[in-house]
């Protein structure tokens, strides 16, 4: 039954060839850099088709079980494919929430029916997933989520709204954290986690304009939306634990993701290249001592993250606080990306004021737009401040503030 595994080098070669031959050429519209920035149908359709193509070629979900649409291969193969896709700067995998957190969650604790129903279509990008965690009044304080889901026989009737729902208008399903029991001692009890269909009556995602003027996320209104108890994942009333498991997948602290990269990262090399194309005081920017220092600091930050990952693989060199490096990745990476955008923009002198749409904008205005969009990662998925709380408390053992009500 089991096929023999391809030789690693031959496989690496094969992926490289495939990516070289199949990667999309330059588009005449600016591509988003992550799933949190998809704003137009054109962008969405392009990204969906690309993910589908990668899946059909066999380079996505390689380590997921064959019976649900994966290939049951060792993670190593997926890692090689993911690395190559990123290295050749192909577009990211748009169904990020499905691939990286809903999918792993369903495989981890979903029912057989749920696995059969959802996994393959996550990989093929036939069905997009979104996340319904944040609410207008409760964001960082996720445990306080209040969207109401009242039991009615075998169904639940949902009322309230979720907000900042990325991909909300494109999604077929939502991972939804809702309050099924409002009368519990602790706010963390009484929550239930649903795999909620978006195309039912009473669920209405309404796009919200981002600061860049583009669209990208929604407020999702629930107006007497009726969902079946079969949509529950985990147990009724234990949604908080399921949400925490999801966040573990989201923050990449455990394996299990389908693979592929989930954002297009700007590299420091591109910023250095930009610096070499800009002038200051009649000379190249890279001759300005303060700019040089700024660039060196960014190079160091970027190297440090790579070297942290290398060191984290050596237990003897992380023994004092093994969780430190894995738990700091999101904070460091997102803050670095934002800084990179800020410095890149500031290099452009007076021209830094041109924006996407103006012919004079350097590189089509990608830098200032990239800087503004970089806040998506310093806010979304747990803000940098919340990350610092978590690291301070879990890694350094510092006390939480006293509870207030």
């Amino acid at each position: 039954m089991s096929e023999t595994l391809p030789d690693i080098e031959a496989f690496t070669e094969e992926v490289r060839d495939w990516v070289t031959k199949n990667k999309p050429g330059k588009q005449d519209f600016l591509l988003p850099q992550s799933f949190m920035e998809v704003g137009t149908d054109q962008q969405f359709e392009f990204l969906r088709d690309w993910q589908n193509k990668v899946y059909e070629a066999g380079y996505l979900g390689m380590s997921w079980p064959k019976e649900y649409g994966g290939r049951s291969m060792p993670q190593e193969y997926q890692d090689i494919a993911s690395r190559e896709l990123a290295r050749q700067k192909t577009p990211f995998m748009v169904n990020t929430i499905g691939l990286n957190w809903a999918g792993p969650l369903i495989l981890h604790m979903g029912s057989e029916e749920q696995k059969k129903a959802f996994i393959k279509k996550i990989l093929s990008c036939e069905e997009i997933w979104c996340q319904g965690f944040s609410e207008p009044d409760h964001g960082s304080d996720l445990g306080n989520a209040q969207l109401k889901a009242e039991r009615d026989g075998k169904d639940f009737i949902c009322n309230g709204s979720k907000i900042w729902t990325s991909l909300g208008t494109y999604a077929k399903h939502m991972i939804l954290l809702a309050r099924t029991d409002p009368n519990t001692n602790s706010k963390y009890e009484g929550l239930t986690f649903f795999l909620n269909p978006m195309d039912i009556e009473g669920v209405d995602p309404v796009p919200i304009k981002k600061m860049t003027g583009e669209y990208g996320f929604c407020q999702t209104y629930f107006d007497n939306a009726r969902i079946s108890e079969d949509c529950i994942i985990g147990k009724e009333g234990e949604g908080w634990q399921v949400a925490m498991t999801t966040l573990m997948f989201e923050r990449g602290a455990t394996g299990g993701q389908a693979g592929g990269h989930s954002m297009m990262s700007t590299t420091i090399e591109e910023v250095i290249d930009l610096a070499k194309r800009t002038d200051r005081d009649g000379a190249c920017s890279t001759e300005d001592p303060l700019i040089r220092d700024e660039l060196v600091k960014l190079i160091m930050t970027s190297r440090a993250m790579g070297l942290n990952a290398a060191r984290a693989r050596i237990p003897a060199l992380v023994s004092e606080r093994p969780a430190s490096i894995p738990m700091s990745g999101k904070l460091l990476g997102s803050e670095y990306a934002k800084k990179l955008g800020e410095v890149a923009t500031s290099l452009q002198g007076a021209n830094a004021s041109y924006y996407v749409g103006d012919d004079n904008a350097i590189d089509g205005g990608r830098w200032p737009r990239g800087y503004l969009n970089a806040f998506s990662a310093t806010i979304g998925g747990g803000t940098s401040q919340i990350q610092k709380n978590i690291i301070g408390e879990r890694v350094l053992g510092l006390p939480k503030p006293p509870r207030t009500n």
Partner: protein
């Protein structure tokens, strides 16, 4: 596929690190550090003897000269715990002097001096001068050759452990060029040494007058190899200083955390205040970066990338050790201002450490040349 060497850490290094961590923790609790501050020599000769017996002074000396023939990557695993426990010994200077002799010494010098060092002869480095410039070629001391003898003149500064040293390796100008000279300590009168008062009280630092000192001309290291030896010396010094700083930062952070989790104000632990908690996290992530640079530098130090790697390690570790010490004082409040609070030990050590072989700004300037030009 990935040919770049990031971090490699051998079984041997792992064992050494563990042994050194235990050794330093046992021998150098803070109380012992404070005792040594009061003691004339500033270090415990018993501990030094044990370090020699463990073979630590010969780690990076080839077997043919009485060492164990390992590399600087192994030395780092000793230097980091030494820094962590503020255990001041002539370990770094002695190790670095041996490398200078190895790099630029004649065959005779290597076989005469290296076995002595491997056995534990304390060696002092006399490379700094009154101008305080980090440039190792900014040397004003002079040597004049008369037949088989060199007559020296000028003053060297910041020579650690000179008083107890058996060997001193000094830089002088000879015929207009920087030269390195081995001086047997017995060639120096006691009056040639003046104890200096330095910021890090765990150190014993001396000013040495070379006026009128004569040494055999055979004690000059090979002129043709001196420049490359000095360049490597700068890198290795930065490597060991980074190791020491990483260790020091870790201990300093723990010292701060201890206070943040026990001291209460306004009916809550002060560590629950975010301006303290988040700063502690910044120190943690800065320290993790420094340590990753350090072990990367330890991996590639002898390769082409070594210079970039070690300058990053030095820049980052100097900066974060200083910041960790600075915040340690502030976060202890009034107690932090006292001599009794250990925060000052770390802050003062960090100042000493940063002021050797270039601070962060100095190294970032060199890095810009390496990375942007």
């Amino acid at each position: 596929m990935n040919t770049r060497r990031d971090i490699e850490f051998s079984e041997e290094q792992q064992q050494l690190l563990e042994i050194a961590e235990n050794f330093c923790r046992d021998k150098s609790p803070v109380a012992a550090v404070r005792t040594q501050i009061e003691v004339e020599d500033g270090f415990d000769t018993g501990i030094w003897k044990e370090m020699a017996d463990l073979g630590w002074l010969g780690i990076a000396i080839p077997e043919e000269f009485g060492g164990s023939g390992l590399g600087m990557g192994e030395v780092v695993t000793i230097a980091e715990p030494l820094g962590r426990n503020l255990l001041a010994t002539p370990f770094e200077a002695t190790t670095l002097a041996a490398q200078l002799i190895l790099d630029a010494g004649t065959d005779a010098q290597k076989s005469d001096w290296l076995p002595r060092i491997a056995e534990g002869s304390i060696t002092a480095l006399a490379l700094s001068e009154e101008h305080g410039d980090w440039d190792l070629n900014h040397v004003t001391c002079e040597a004049v050759k008369n037949g088989d003898t060199l007559t020296l003149s000028g003053t060297k500064t910041l020579v650690t452990d000179a008083k107890r040293a058996e060997i001193i390796l000094a830089s002088v100008k000879l015929g207009g060029k920087t030269a390195l000279v081995l001086i047997d300590r017995s060639a120096l009168a006691d009056s040639a040494l003046t104890r200096e008062t330095v910021i890090d009280e765990t150190r014993r630092s001396f000013r040495i007058s070379l006026d009128g000192v004569s040494v055999p001309a055979a004690n000059v290291l090979n002129a043709a190899k001196t420049q490359s030896a000095l360049a490597r010396h700068h890198k290795l010094s930065c490597l060991l200083l980074s190791a020491e700083a990483c260790g020091g930062t870790a201990a300093c952070l723990n010292e701060t955390l201890e206070y943040l989790t026990t001291r209460r104000q306004f009916d809550r632990f002060i560590g629950s205040y975010q301006s303290l908690k988040h700063t502690a996290v910044d120190i943690l992530t800065g320290m993790e970066a420094a340590r990753s640079f350090l072990y990367h530098a330890a991996t590639v130090i002898e390769e082409e990338d070594g210079e970039t790697a070690v300058r990053m390690a030095k820049a980052q570790s100097s900066e974060i050790f200083s910041w960790a010490g600075d915040r340690a004082i502030q976060f202890h409040g009034g107690f932090g201002f006292t001599y009794e609070c250990d925060a000052q030990l770390y802050r003062r050590r960090a100042m000493w450490n940063t002021n050797q072989h270039g601070d962060a700004v100095y190294h970032r300037k060199r890095l810009a040349e390496l990375l942007l030009d």
